[in-house]
C-alpha cells in the first residue's frame, strides 16, 4: 500500500499500454474522451492519470486503425460529446493486446522477482 501511494501522480505510459487501457475501458460500452480519462483514473485506483495531450491522439489513431468508431451523441446531462465504441476488429485487438500484456508481465516478473 505504501509503495502504491508513493506512485500517485502522473506516470509515464508506454504508448502501447495507453492503447490497451483505452480498448479495455471501452469494453464496457461506448464512452467519450473525458469519460475514458475518468474511467482509467478511477479504475487504476487513482494511480494513473492520462494526459489529454496523449489521449486524443491515441483515440484518433485507434479510430484510424479501425478498432474504434466514433459518433456524436448526447450525454446523460444532455451535453454533446464524441463517443467512441469498440468495433469487432477492435475486440479482437483487445484480446491480442491482453495476451501480449500477460506475456510481458510474466517475462518481466521472472527477471525482477525471480523467487515469486
Amino acid at each position: 500500500m505504501d509503495e502504491q501511494k508513493k506512485h500517485t501522480g502522473r506516470m509515464e505510459l508506454l504508448q502501447g499500454t495507453l492503447d490497451l487501457l483505452i480498448l479495455q475501458t471501452l469494453q464496457w460500452g461506448p464512452q467519450h474522451g473525458h469519460g475514458i480519462a475518468n474511467a482509467i483514473k478511477a479504475n487504476s485506483g487513482e494511480l494513473l492519470s492520462v494526459e489529454t495531450g496523449s489521449l486524443y491522439p491515441a483515440l484518433h489513431r485507434l479510430e484510424k486503425k479501425g478498432w474504434l468508431r466514433s459518433e456524436w451523441k448526447l450525454t446523460d446531462n444532455s451535453q454533446r460529446a464524441k463517443f467512441y465504441k469498440l468495433t469487432p476488429p477492435g475486440k479482437k485487438q483487445l484480446s491480442r493486446e491482453l495476451s501480449k500484456w500477460d506475456l510481458m508481465v510474466q517475462a518481466i516478473s521472472r527477471i525482477v522477482r525471480p523467487a515469486e
Binding site: H32, G33, H34, G35, N38, H60, K64, Q79, A81
Partner: protein, 884 residues
Amino acid sequence: MRLPTWLQRLFGRNRETDLADEIEAHLALETQQRLERNEPPEEVRDRALRDFGSIALAKERTRDTWGFGGFQAFRDDLRFGLRFFAKHKLLTCTVWLTLALGTGALTAAFGVVEAMLLRSLPYPGAGRLYHVLLHPEAGEQTGSQASESAPSAIGRLTRGFSDHIRNHARTLESVSIHTQWMGVMNSGGAAERIMPALVSPEFFSALGVQPALGRPFTRQEMEGSNPRVCLLSYEYWQSRFGGRHSVVGEPVTIDGEPYTVVGIMPRDFRVWLSGLTASPQVYLPVSSRDGQEFRRNPAEVVIVKLSETVSVDAATQELNTLLESARAEEEDLHQRRISHLSLMPVADEVASQLRPMLYTILGLCGCLYLIACMNLAGLMLAQTAARARELGIRRALGATRLRVAWQLLSECVLLALPGGVLGGFAAIAAARLTASLYPGTLPRADLIGFHPAVLLFSITATLVGGILVGMLPAWRFSTENTLAGGRSLGSGATATPSRGRMLDVLVCAQVTLAVAVLVCSALFLESFHELRSVQPGYQLQQRLTAQVILPQASYADAPSRARFTTELLERLRAIPGVQRAAITSSIPLNLNASYAAAFSIPGKPEFSDQRIAIVFVSSQYFEALGIPLLSGVPLDGEQHPESKAAIVSEAFARKYFASANPVGETLLQGTDPLRITGVVADHRSQWLVQTSAPEIYRPLLMEPKTLLDMVLLTGGDPHALVPSLREAVAAIDPMLAVGKVSTMEKNFDNGVAPLRFRALLTGSLTAIAVVLALLGVYAVVAWVVRARIPEYGVRMALGARPRDILAQVMRRGIRLPAAGVILGIPLGYVLARLIESELYGVEAAHLNTYLLVAGIMLVVIAGAAAIPALRAARVSPLEALRHE
C-alpha cells in the same frame, strides 16, 4: 446514415472543426464535473483548461495521427502559407512573371523543336520513307543541290539509274522521284509563275495521299504518248480556278502547253520533303520534262519506301548491289563518281540543316529557365526570413520537419502554376510569331502548336521549376532548429551565415550561366558581322536582277532560244538609264540549276575527267556585276561569238595552271577543244559561306537556256527600270512572265538574313538571361545590406568612414559573382565548341570575345552591387541603430 469519414470531409464537415468541437466538449464535461464537486464556479473553467494542458499541442499531435497523406491537413497548411503570398503581392507577381518567362521561353523552344525535328511526318508509313544519299568518290563533287552552310549529301540520281532501281529492287515497296520546277500558268487569268512539283506516280502511294477529287497519274500515262496530265493543289484550285468541280478533266495551259487536270490534292496537304517547296500549286509528271539530257543528268531526288519488315541494312545492301549492276550496264559518267549509297530517314533531312541552330536555341532557353529558377530560389530564400516566426512556432509545436518542408515546397509549386500556365500559352504564340519572322522558309513551321507533347513538357517544366525554386527554402527550414528560427525574427533578419552562403552560391551559379550564354551570343554576333562584311567579289549597288523562263514547247530548239536571248539583250540595252545589261544561266546567289561537265587538260594527265561548274553568260556579264577581268579579253559580243571561247575563274587558274597564265591554253570538254580567253576574279557564286571553286564561263548563245537571269546596271535607282524591263520581255513574247525581280543588294541581304535573324534571336535571349542574373546579384547584395544596416550604423558610430563601408560591401558583393564570371568563361568555351559549326569566320577560341564578355560582366556586376552599397555608405548611424 453514416457516411464514410472521407466523404463527410468532402461535404464540408471539417476534421479540424470536429477536433475543436471534441476538445471543447471535453472541457465542458470537465467543467461540469468540477462544478459538481463544488469547486468555485468562476475558477472551474480555468482549472479545466489547466488540467487539459496545451490544447494546441494536443491538436497538433492529433493532426499527426491523421497521417501525412491527409489531403485535409495538406490543404490547410497550404491555405495558411499562401496567406503570406497574398499579402506580399509584389513578390508573388515577380515570381509569376519570372517563371512565366523561364518556362515560356523553354516551352517555346521545345515547341519549335518538337514540330520541326521530333514529330514524325504526317504521312502513313512515314517511318519507312528514306532518302538515298550519295557518297562521292574522294575528291569529287556530286554537283548536288546545296544548302545554306554546306552541300547536303542528298544527291540526285539520273533517270536511268532510278528506273533501274525501281525495276530491280525487291526490298523496296516503292521508288519515287521528284524535283522542283518553275513554270508559268497561262489558264485561269494572267500569266502567273508557279512552282510545280515534278513527281513520279509512286509519289502519291509513297506518301499515302489520295487526291480529294479525281485520281493521281499512272505510270502508263507517264510513259505513254501523252504525259501531259496534272494535279492541282487544293488552295490553288480554290484561288485560281474558283473551286469549280468542272476543272477536273479540263485542259489547262502551262508553259504554253495543254495539260489535262486529272485530280485535286486534299486540303492542307503539305510536302515536307527535301527538294520541294512545301505547297506546290501544281503536280506534274516527271516525264513532262524529258529528253536525253535529262536522262543523263542527275536531276531528281529519290525517295524509297521500304517494304514492311525490311531492315535498313538489307535495303542499303541491295541498293549498292544495284549500283554495281548499273555501272556495268550503262555508260554513265555520273554513276562512276559515286562510291556507295546509303539511306537516311526522310524526317531527318527536313530541317536537318537547321538542327544545330534549333538545339542551340533550346539550350539557350534552358539556361534562361535555370537562371530564372535560381533567381527565384534566392528570392524565396531571402523571403523566408520574414516567415521565420510563423514557421519556427510550428516547429516548436512539434510539426515534423518533413511536414513543414513539404508545405513550403508545395507552396512554391502552387505559385509556379499560374506562371507556368501563362508562360506555356504565351510560349506557343511567341514561337509561331518568331517562326513567321524568319527570313526564308522554315520547314514544318506550320506544325508548331500546343500538341500533347508540348503540353506535357510545359507542365513538367512548371513543376520542376516550382520544385527547384522551393527546394532551398524547404531544405533550409527543415534543417534549421527552432531556436535559430525564433531568434531570427526580432533582430531585423540577421543573415544566418549558412543562408547567406547559399544565396552567394546561387548568385555565382547564375552569373556562370549568364556568362556562358553571353559568350555564345557574342560569337554569333561576331559571326554575323563577319558575314556581313564578306567581300562577295562583285558589286551590289544599282543592279537590278530578274528572271524569265522560256516554256519548253515554244522554245524547244536552240536557235529559237538564241534568237530570244539576242533580241532581249538588244531591248534591255536600249532601255534609257541602263549602262550594262547581261543575261546568264544563273546570277550569283540565285541558286538556279547548276551546270557542270567533265573536262580534261591536254598535257596534264593528272587533270583528266574533272567535273567543273559552268556558267553560261552573255557579253557584258562581268562588267554588269563589277567582276574584274584579270587578264585576257572579255567574251565577245553576240554578233561574232567565238564558239570555242571560255573564260575561267582565278581558282581554276590556280588549280590547273599553278602560277602560269592560262590565257591561250586549251581545255577539252569531252573531245571538244575550248580556248581560254580570259581570267576573272574569284567571287561567291553559289553561297556566301563557301569559298570559291573553279568555274568556267561560256558564251550563253552557244548553249542557250530556257531559264534566264537578267542583270542590269544603272546609274540611278534600279527599281525605276522594272516597268521597262517587263515591257521589253512582253514585246518579244507576251506569254512570258517575269519573276524574281530584285536587286543584287537585296539578294545579298537575303543570303545574310537568316544569320542576322539568328544573331538577333540569340542576342535577345541572352540579354534577358543577363538581366535576370544581374537582378539576382542586386537583390542579394541589397538583402545583405539591409540585414546589416544596424551593424554598419554601429561601425560608423565607432569611426568607420563611409568609404570603408562601401568598400566592404562591394568586396563582399562582388566576390562570388566575380568567381562566377571566371567559372563561366570555360563553360562558355565548352558551349562554343558545340556551336562551332554554326559560326562563320570566328573560331570558338576567339580570345577577344572572352575578354570582352568577362570585362562587360564584371563592370555590370560591380554596378549592380554598387547601388545598394552606396546606400549602405550613406546610412546615418543614428538611423541605423533605430532600424533595429
